[in-house]
Amino acid sequence: MARIGVFICHCGENIAGTVDVFKVAEAAGKFPGVVHSVEYKYMCSDPGQTMIKDAIKEKKLTGVVVAACSPRMHEPTFRRACAEAGLNPFLCEMANIREHCSWVHEKGEATTQKAIELIRIMVEKVKRNKPLYSIKVPVTKTALVLGGGIAGIQAALDIANAGHQVILVERSPSIGGHMLQLSETFPTLDCSQCILTPRMVEVAQHPKITLYTYSELESLDGFIGNFKARIRRKARGVDEKLCTGCGVCIQKCPQKKIPSEFDAGMGKRTAIYVPCPQSVPNQPVIDREHCTYYIKGKCKICEKFCERKAIRLDQQDEIIEVNVGAVVAATGFDILHSKDFPEYGYGKYPDVIDGLQFERLASASGPTLGAIKRPSDGKEPETVVFIACAGSRDDAKGIPYCSKICCMYTAKHAMLYKHKVHNGKAYVFYMDIRAGGKNYEEFVRRAIEEDGAVYLRGRVSRIYEEDGKLIVKGVDTLLGAQPVEIKADMVVLATAIVANQDAESLAQKLRVSYDPYHFLSEAHPKLRPVETNTAGIFLAGACQAPKDIPEAVAQASGAAAKVAGLFSSSELSREPVIAVVNRLPPPVFSTCTGCFLCEKACPYQAIEREEIKDRKGNVIKVVAKVNPGLCQGCGTCVALCRVKAIDLQGFTNEQVYCELMAL
């Protein structure tokens, strides 16, 4: 027989002001199954909670209903109190007689009556509650970080320094990402290699970080704490243990004309190459598309000159399986490319380049060793036009969002150009200057006032070549929308930041949602920016949205903190409000008919198929089974299941049915 205790709170005057709490306590005492019904001024206070604990012990209560504020406020408080008194916390329910009753209705009989009915509903529900125990899920204390840019590096270092194993997977031959390509970084103009390469070396030497470069995630299965990742180690053509990075093979390689991806096409590289001198690991990779050995079958010069005999021309891709407990996606971004700007002649005129290409020109380790030279004839341009918002904030290009960092790096480019070409003229076409970070606005003001960059507020409609000059047709809206034509020697487009080409397939591998522009979606834009809706998968850096280095690093450390929090206990305990498929004794085994509508409907893919076999091993029936690690307890499957074989703990059909019966 149920022994229910009802505890009515005055909440000072908040409830007692409009609800006759004494009458309610008396009425609640008469409900069938209620053995203890009291009211108290502040139920959530320490004396209030002690009252509940004592009552549980003395009256050996099997269920508690606290009639007070919203369960969203104090349910955890009262459930913890019950647990301390030895009653399973899930046998405690709250009736909301404050926000949903006393605060919103006039003082009077109807309000008191409503409070009584709300309590009766909860009493009937509590009678059908079952004790539930939080779900224990083991946690593998190894993190997988995808992407070796500044965000990936920062996340890997933070997790490793927190004492956990990290596997860092980077697609290109070296870590460093786009930041490694930059010359200097705003707003302090410190050289990006100087602040990044020490971190890269720290990653390579960190005892707890296993670094797989020139590798990609092949597939990810499992759930939070128990992921199984398969990583494809693309064939490097070089044995990592033997190679010392002496670089002889790179000098001797006859193939010298391949456009270097790292230099964004501004420079050339050999078939066996290292992206840049500061690459980590400093071991070359053989580019099988351009290496003559793989095309014509003969050459092997690099093999001949390698004293360490480290060249492995017949090396094949290798798949490694690792168990990880959490994944941090830090796969970075890409920029919009030439095919999207016919009106600017980008891709048609060699002197129309994008931001990354200008970075390579300005970089001391770049193809021009830092001198600003036109790609067409190598001459120093006297007039350079920088165009901000090339593609961003432009519906016609399908990119309505602002890429956030172009105003800053365009001002930096104008400044670098003026520092290196003193009498050069720099024009910047912009719509609005977005310089909201720390010292950002001052940086842009400096570019305008001290370095003399001419800022024209307007958009460029067309660029065409005439008599060897690039005619930039724009408008200056601050001078009464007067058309402006500038004869430029070089044009730099601050093209939009877009998601990586394969961001969508990565999101599908990780089973995280992504937005229409293929940026990965965070769990909650304001309150959970580094988590995703898939438990155990975290986000860092520009793969989530365009952002600058400080934000990427902050987000990386945030994600690392989340991972460290996840790994802090050997077991993961989760709220037991999850769905369960019933199991019955043979011959039925379960009322589930195996139609698996629930499997298609589950947003968390938490439903698995279980084969029920007889002793001889042949399958009797295939039924659904809920993975406790993944299920978030939304209950959609419960409403969809025709035969009600699946039920949601905490909101079972029985409980909700009895709530209705108490109306």
Binding site: D395, A396, R462
Partner: protein, 304 residues
């Protein structure tokens, strides 16, 4: 190949040579054009300046007639009509209430989902892979393909070629042996409807277009819209007065250039109707085209 056909008023009036050349080329290509029975004016710029409902109802009636005649695809050679029909179709499909209101006005129920083809798309259909046409007299001239505005804008609705740097007419010209130049004024405004009210403006704008084409060595301007033709050809006197300079560069319709290449005579194609005589400077055959060809080829290839 059977297509619906909507001539529009200008093809029976000031742009007769466009229809004549189109009909000849279509017949040669075995393309059957059946005019939409009882077609009415598309409303052009006048309607959409005055009354929105009128500017949607007129084209809607045309679409309804095309539906009734069971036409799946309709060729609309005049860019202005093509633009108005496409805009009306877009608005009607987007806004079911408007569609209900319009169908009451024109007392006809309709789906209005026929596919609209402008003259360039029409010519592309003729020159498709299985095209039976042979270029008899290659149109070996440097040409400036001028698309104007109504063919390409608004891009969200028309979705035709690349709005900023279209290439479809250039590809057709290469097919008939011409050498299309790379010039920036392909989609600049020629002054359009201001032809009567502000002829001075048209003279300035169209003058800039002619100047840019001539400077790049174009021997003819190829257009696909009666409005562009009239501003660049009929207003030539005003342009020359405003620019203080003679321009003898002829302006041809796309269909006329193709007609010439297919060996049709100038008379049949109605070239005599132009105000600027269609005459090309005689120059030695060999030297010129190869050099220009290669530069053009590489640039074109990169964009493709």
């Amino acid at each position: 190949m059977k297509l619906g056909y909507f001539p529009g008023c200008s093809l029976l009036g000031s742009a007769r040579e466009l229809e004549e050349s189109l009909m000849l080329v279509a017949k040669k290509a075995g393309m059957e054009l059946t005019t939409i029975p009882d077609w009415n004016c598309c409303g052009s710029t006048a309607a959409h300046n005055l009354n929105h409902l009128l500017s949607v109802s007129l084209p809607a009636r045309i679409l309804a007639l095309a539906d009734k005649a069971g036409m799946k695809e309709v060729l609309v050679p005049c860019s202005a009509c093509y633009n108005r029909l496409a805009m009306a179709q877009y608005e009607l499909l987007e806004n079911p209430d408007l569609k209900k209101e319009v169908s009451e006005i024109i007392e006809m129920d309709f789906e209005g989902t026929a596919k609209l083809l402008n003259v360039v798309e029409g010519m592309e259909k003729i020159f498709g892979e299985d095209s039976v046409l042979k270029v008899e007299k290659p149109f070996e001239h440097k040409v400036a393909c001028y698309y104007g505005c109504l063919l390409v804008r608004p891009a969200k609705v028309l979705k035709f070629d690349r709005p900023e740097d279209p290439q479809s007419m250039d590809r057709l010209m290469k097919k008939i042996g011409a050498d299309p130049i790379d010039w920036p004024d392909k989609v600049e405004c020629c002054g359009a409807g201001l032809s009567v009210s502000r002829t001075d403006l048209v003279a300035k704008l169209s003058g800039k277009i002619l100047e840019s084409a001539v400077k790049r060595g174009a021997e003819a301007i190829i257009v696909a819209c009666p409005m562009c033709h009239s501003n660049l050809d009929m207003r030539r006197e005003n342009i020359e007065k405003a620019a203080g300079k003679k321009y003898s560069i002829p302006v041809l319709y796309l269909t006329e250039a193709i007609g010439l290449a297919l060996g049709l005579s100038e008379k049949e194609l109605g070239l005599h109707r132009h105000l600027v005589p269609v005459v090309f400077p005689i120059r030695e055959k060999k030297a010129e085209p190869e050099k220009a060809e290669s530069a053009e080829e590489s640039a074109g290839a990169v964009e493709e």
